[in-house]
Symmetry: C2
Subunit: 249 residues, 2 copies
DNA sequence: GCAACTTTGTGCGTGCCTTCACAAGCGACT
DNA sequence: AGTCGCTTGTGAAGGCACGCACAAAGTTGC
């Protein structure tokens, strides 16, 4: 949904800042989390094969992904987890805290505000906004919900770098404009709308209804295929590597 | 994240069931929603350029996407919206209702259960599950929360075709196994875990922390680029598709 | 110190997706 | 009826990503 940039400039490459494919960045974040879990279990090194097994990624692809952030592996041994984690965090910008603003504290927004997976991972939700007078003023997780009008002021005060939009569809574009006007350059959009913004603003979209429709398509495909009596196996997920983490409850 | 299957069989192609690229399916769902909005505004036809503007997609790509489901456009005019919507719904399997089961009625799960975007779009949430005794038995939107143990029985009774997992990470794999054992073949996973399942099961993952980390990467990249004093203007997004639709709210 | 084994890093072929550009088709106007 | 303008549908080219397979590099054992 987000567009693949023809990223990178030469000067940028000279710094530690290489042109990393968008698809790889998404996986790097995944590696980082799994490395965290491995570290908790007491591991000090991982091989690309192990980590690939846990993350469901092809080992070669994984190594190539890691090579984008520099060579931190030891041949014959694997990767030292702590060093790799540090480097990943640096690359993903987690060495600086990212203040997150959440706009729209309705059904979904309320859940996002309370989601522990954010604050625990370096993304403290720093500001909450809504238009509903019944919501403005209440506390969620210790944060006061402010009125949307206060976005410019508060975002500036608290150094917000990432905005999340969880409003109803029709309100989303207006909120987006407000955020962009306040200097926010990265937005995560949950509203079912395609946002328009200047090209320097990075927008990612999470569309739950679309996700379900994609699955519904597969259900339908399967049903039709069965009616046909055609073979048509699914083979979606490739990886049967049950290797390390059984991880039952 | 989900792997592109080497979809399609010849018999399947003979029926209305063509091999549609995974990436296209995702966009088809998007087109469908936007068409719905256009129809509400009273439009009867759209050109590929208009629809492309609204959805932020390249017009040629859009036409190719639509060509996968058959040619329903009229040259010189555009697409008749009602016919196109019908065909899209058929392709995406929305002509049959999809019963959805949601496992994990915690923070996020509760929000998902109450999200009107699902039921309103042909995805009635038909069953809710959790392990927490405080939650089992309560009603959400008129649905009783059942214990996870009841998954096999209830999924069979209610003909569940799609499962959503919104449990904490460690519980997710167990729930996944239960769902798969109950005949569910399509799963939407919100838990921060890579699920292992047989290849015939289609799994999609929505990972909120990863989404934020991807954005954080862009924040970091931007900061580093600025420190460099390098030129490196925005050009992250390609996305200049402001072409036709100003489409302000 | 040498040999055998392990694991990383990467060059390269392959296939999918995107995008351009144009011919074919349809309607409107004269 | 004929012409003109507009829009679809698609062939072909380019780019990106994936994954194989191998050389380079390090470790362990003798």
């Amino acid at each position: 949904m987000t567009k693949p940039p023809q990223a990178g400039s030469e000067d940028a490459a000279a710094a530690g800042l290489r042109a990393i494919p968008e698809a790889s960045v998404a996986r790097l974040a995944l590696y980082l989390r799994m490395l965290g879990e491995l570290a908790e279990q007491g591991a000090e090194t991982v091989s690309s094969d192990e980590l690939a097994g846990v993350t469901g990624v092809n080992p070669a692809k994984l190594r190539k992904d890691l090579s984008y952030i520099g060579s931190y592996g030891i041949r014959g041994v694997g990767y030292e987890i702590s060093a790799l984690v540090r480097q990943l965090e640096r690359t993903l910008g987690l060495d600086h805290l990212q203040a997150v603003a959440l706009v729209g504290v309705g059904n979904l927004g309320h859940a996002l505000a309370g989601y522990s997976g954010f604050g625990g991972r370096g993304f403290p939700v720093t500001a909450l906004f809504d238009v509903d007078p019944d919501l403005v003023g209440i506390h969620i997780n210790g944060i006061i919900v402010e009125h949307v009008q206060a976005i410019p002021q508060i975002c500036a005060e608290r150094g917000v770098t990432i905005g999340m939009i969880a409003t109803p569809g029709p309100a989303a574009q207006g909120v987006c404009d407000l955020l962009v006007g306040s200097g926010v350059r990265c937005i995560l959009n949950f509203a079912p709308v395609v946002l328009q913004a200047p090209p320097e603003v990075e927008i990612r979209k999470v569309d739950l209804a679309v996700e379900l429709q994609i699955l519904a398509f597969h259900v339908a495909r399967r049903r039709l295929a069965q009616q046909d009596g055609a073979v048509l196996d699914g083979q979606v997920n490739g990886h049967a590597t049950n290797g390390s983490g059984g991880m039952l409850t």
